[in-house]
Symmetry: C2
Subunit: 498 residues, 2 copies
């Protein structure tokens, strides 16, 4: 078969895969937003059936041969990247015996049920044997790959290609050395949470704020949509169709708003990918950490800055009664308020990475043999005590709070911290080229989006994180930007000096 | 292969087909309601690709052999009906050469474009050659079937199994004889359209009316959903997931509301099908006419009656400012106001069937050779003059108003009139068993739904229309019920005697 016919076969199957993915995305979006509850069982069954059809196509001998053959050919940069990424996935999966795969899938289904009950009953002991089994099975599954690296190194690479354990070690060491002391300095100032944060804001007023924000962020309604759901998320349909959801909570106004800004960061990333990649796997194969870097950039670096709000705050005040007597400075202090917290998903910007650090150290220990599931809940609590200065009253607010491990997702957590760290590096690079603060103050968010489009977004998933960082910022991933950003921001905000 | 394995193969493929259909329904719903416009081109392309996948499964040699073999087996009533219906579809399609099929598909695509332009430019001449070609191609496509009946008889049967040209002839003769004179009597009374019908009703108030109606109609939110779209429609996802859309128009309040009641009639039908049929083709293979009978029953026979509104009208008045000074009697007269009209989709209940009669007579003439496309616009206008007493000022409001013929759908229109006629027969049967008026007045719509569920809805598409009518009402389709209903209703409403 000529290379042209191989390529055309590849494109034909790829396009079919994209069609199934769009259908599944649409079913998913529908389920999480408006679909009537009573139809869920049937809908889920049919979606699973379609997912099975997709799986059959992705793992068909025809497609595998096609990928294997193309991987030895000289291809254009984009196609080569695509083939490389698909082949990487195939190489991880192809040697796993089917019965091992099925056993692992069954284990995660069981473990998720057990975890949910264990969390509700705050009972680590009932989850413990499953956690042990999950680690063993993960090791087993990874052992079939033709890859000599230690298991956790491979897992880390699964979730963030090219980032190594050594990178993370450097990163978390810096956090421990510089951010833990900074956090304690801030906490020692005993700044009370502003009471206005708890004021009730009617949903109708929140909707108006969303309109103001959408206009400010240049979120184009003809290629985007805002829905509502129990948990905010963003969903990528195609380059010109990206959606986010908001969860309006009367008593948690700012939290609803910042979650929305976060999701719009994700949606804008997907919406600014080069149109030429539409329908190709490269369109949305960017890494977890890279995706999170754009949402965090929006939510924190830009969204929680004084400059961001300066031009729209009067408008916001005019629609939100609860902010009438809150000055812009008070607002900024409030939305950046720091508090010791036990629960990762409720953590503020400063404490968040420390929550991740705890999980990283534990995962690393579990896979290199220095930690065991026995007594792991105590290890968890000790680490919270040490880094965050607070101890979970029970395991439901401790080791059992996250679903990830029950699904076998080890190595995923660190990408959450990476996202923020990348975003500081992007921010520093952007500041060299445009006056970000001036853009924000001048209601010129378009220039910010344009910089992001040109340097980050348009590439979709063509490049690995380190490749993209190097070509744009001149360096590989460098966590120092993030450390400096946090130190600078919080020292100034809360006047704690350095 | 044993009959058990054939059946299990049949069920497996059927379930897969259902999964694709659900995905396509979801994509369609999404497109017509909230999907961002700029994503349409890509989304449509992907949906077409998936539809192609579905087509491949439905026409796979494996499935065809399975159906052919099962069609000779003794099966339970439900499965037999299912196999019979699928085989009927196969028998219509299997002998058509692929190139003829492709040519016909291309022709309809072209013709729809030409029709749209012709309608906008009120230019029948440019559409005429396409109409001629569409009729020729339809005859050609039908000629491949192993069926000796005249072409139009077959087309009629395609859209409403078991209803014959003779049935329609009797039906439309009665309409001509009894309803045309009745209409003219009503029109001669020169009753002006009540001015309150044109009052502006803010969308927020209309939403509240929808809430009142949903409660009254027992439309259960956990298995239904109301969206918004440019044209109201209902969409069937599964037994426990049926949706309708409403188009809120400030200046056309009652029209928005009755369109909604119409769609809820469709949705309730699908929502009361026996759960055991879920995911089987029988679940929603009811005929067009039968489906329309339920929406018209809701919209007209029930929805435009005084009894329907009597218990909720005070509540409606309390939320709609424009109705504050409109008494219940005035409201009922207004929503049943009769006016000579040129456009089918805007017609009132009394004139509607006459619009259909015009189309039926023309279709019949085109296929039996008594009419030709030449000068057909004049034939159209003459018939409007004769039956409706009004002549289109141009062809855009005349022969070019409907999309159907450009898509090759000849024989479809008559089912619209059939729907109303069936519904009168259902209504008469229901009145023998429950006191419908009392139920409506007592806010007991549940009993009406329950009668419909037990006698009509639960059967899904198992029975042909005549079978179902016979078993429930004791007669085959009998248009006299409809004639009597219209005569009785409109004589009394407008006091025109008989």
């Amino acid at each position: 078969m000529s290379i042209e016919s191989k390529l055309s076969q590849f494109r034909e199957i790829s396009e079919k895969i994209s069609a199934y993915k769009l259908a599944l995305t649409t079913l998913n979006w529908d389920s999480s937003t408006i679909a009537p509850k009573k139809g869920a069982a049937y809908r889920n069954k049919m979606a699973a059936l379609l997912a099975g059809e997709l799986f059959s196509i992705e793992t068909s001998p025809e497609f595998i041969v096609c990928i294997d053959e193309l991987s030895t050919e000289a291809l254009d940069e984009i196609t080569a990247s695509e083939i490389r990424q698909i082949k990487k996935g195939l190489d991880k999966a192809r040697y796993i015996p089917k019965e091992v795969y099925v056993e692992f899938a069954q284990l995660t289904r069981d473990a998720e049920n057990v975890w949910e009950k264990a969390r509700d009953e705050q009972d680590y002991e009932s989850f413990k044997p499953y956690l042990k089994k999950l680690i063993e099975m993960t090791k087993k599954v990874v052992s079939y790959r033709k890859d000599d690296r230690p298991v956790y190194d491979q897992l880390i690479d699964d979730f963030e290609t090219g980032i190594t354990l050594a990178d993370y070690d450097v990163f978390f060491e810096k956090l421990k050395k510089d951010i833990v002391p900074l956090l304690h300095k801030v906490i020692d100032k005993n700044i009370p949470q502003p009471t206005w944060l708890k004021r009730i804001v009617p949903i109708q007023q929140q909707r108006q704020v969303v309109e103001i924000l959408m206009e400010y962020l240049n979120y184009d309604k003809s290629s985007c949509y805002i829905g509502e759901s129990a948990h905010p998320f963003s969903s990528h349909f195609s380059v010109h169709d990206n959606r986010v959801t908001v969860r309006y909570q009367e008593e948690l106004f700012t939290s609803s708003i910042f979650a929305l800004i976060h999701e719009v960061g994700h949606a804008t990333y997907n919406g600014q990918v080069d149109e030429a990649y539409q329908g190709r796997m490269i369109e949305d194969s960017m890494s977890y950490g890279m995706h999170e870097s754009q949402s965090r950039l929006y939510e924190n670096m830009l969204g929680r800055s004084r400059e961001f709000w300066s031009s729209i705050y009067p408008k916001v005040q005019s629609v939100v009664d609860a902010l009438k007597d809150v000055s812009l400075d008070e607002f900024i202090l409030g939305v950046n308020h720091v508090e010791l917290s036990l629960v990762r998903i409720e953590a503020d910007e400063l404490t968040y990475p420390l929550h991740i650090m705890v999980r990283y150290e534990i995962e690393q220990g579990l896979f290199n043999g220095t930690l065991d599931v026995e007594g792991l809940d105590q290890v968890w609590s000790d680490k919270y005590q040490e880094y965050l200065g607070i101890r979970p009253p029970h395991n439901g607010l401790g080791i059992l709070q996250d679903i990830h491990w029950s699904g076998g997702a080890f190595g995923y957590f660190p990408t959450y911290a990476l996202g923020s760290a990348y975003s500081a590096q992007w921010m520093a690079a952007m500041r060299k080229e445009i006056d970000v603060d001036r853009c924000l103050e001048n209601n010129d968010f378009r220039s910010v989006n344009e910089w992001l489009r040109e340097n980050v977004h348009r590439h979709g998933g063509v490049y690995e994180p380190n490749q993209l960082l190097l070509s744009v910022t001149g360096e590989h991933f460098n966590p120092q930007y993030y450390i400096d950003y946090l130190k600078d921001k919080y020292s100034r905000l809360f006047d704690v000096g350095e």
